[in-house]
């Protein structure tokens, strides 16, 4: 599998996914 960080827009998409995952984690478990 290709590393998504090799692509600029792959990096941006990964960042958005990490944001969603962390948001849900903070909202559901830490707030």
């Amino acid at each position: 599998m290709k590393n998504p960080l090799d692509s600029l827009w792959g990096t941006v998409v990964c960042g958005l996914i990490v944001t969603a995952v962390l948001y849900l984690a903070v909202k559901n478990f830490l707030m």
Binding site: L5, L8, T11, L16, V18, T19, Y23, L30, M31
Partner: protein
């Protein structure tokens, strides 16, 4: 004293804009430009005159940003980093910023020194350094997206967290 967090917040924004601005410059502008410049033999102009200056402001603004951020947290520093209730949002932002700072000083800068010839390295070491520096820079760009989401989490984020 209320003046310290107020000035720290201002400095945090100034230095943070420079740090993340240069991070985006590297990823959106310089890396693709170097690829094109290497093809027509003009990459030296970037690697000799532009990259070292950009890296200088990039790495020192990361330190100033982190220190000013720590000053803003003040007595909430430990609570934020241990993700206590009410501080978890900013705590996640602080952790992401800290990981990015470590990446700058432990991975990006030492490898960039080899790439730019500021530190002796064989061609093989330079090639490895290019790969590590690129992936770390990309990782920081990826982390900057959630980092800014949580850092900017003020009143506007209350609805998002159901508060």
């Amino acid at each position: 004293m209320d003046l310290v967090p107020a000035i720290a917040r201002w400095v945090h924004f100034l230095a943070g804009v420079m740090w993340v601005g240069l991070l985006y410059y590297f990823n959106f502008v310089q890396i693709p430009a170097l690829k094109a410049a290497a093809a027509d033999g003009t990459a030296a102009g970037i690697t000799k005159h532009v990259a070292p200056r950009a890296l200088l402001y990039f790495r020192w603004s990361s330190i100033v940003t982190w220190l000013a951020g720590a000053a803003i947290l003040g007595g909430n520093f430990v609570g934020a980093f241990t993700l206590q209730k009410g501080l978890a949002g900013i705590g996640v932002g602080a952790w992401l910023g800290t990981i990015m700072l470590i990446n700058v000083w432990a991975l990006i800068w030492p490898n960039q020194q080899k790439i730019l010839g500021l530190k002796p390295a064989t061609d093989e070491e330079k090639n490895k350094a290019r790969r590590v520096a690129l992936l770390t820079s990309r990782a920081n760009m990826m982390l900057s997206i959630p980092m800014l989401f949580f850092m900017a989490g003020g009143w506007s984020h209350r609805a998002l967290f159901g508060l």
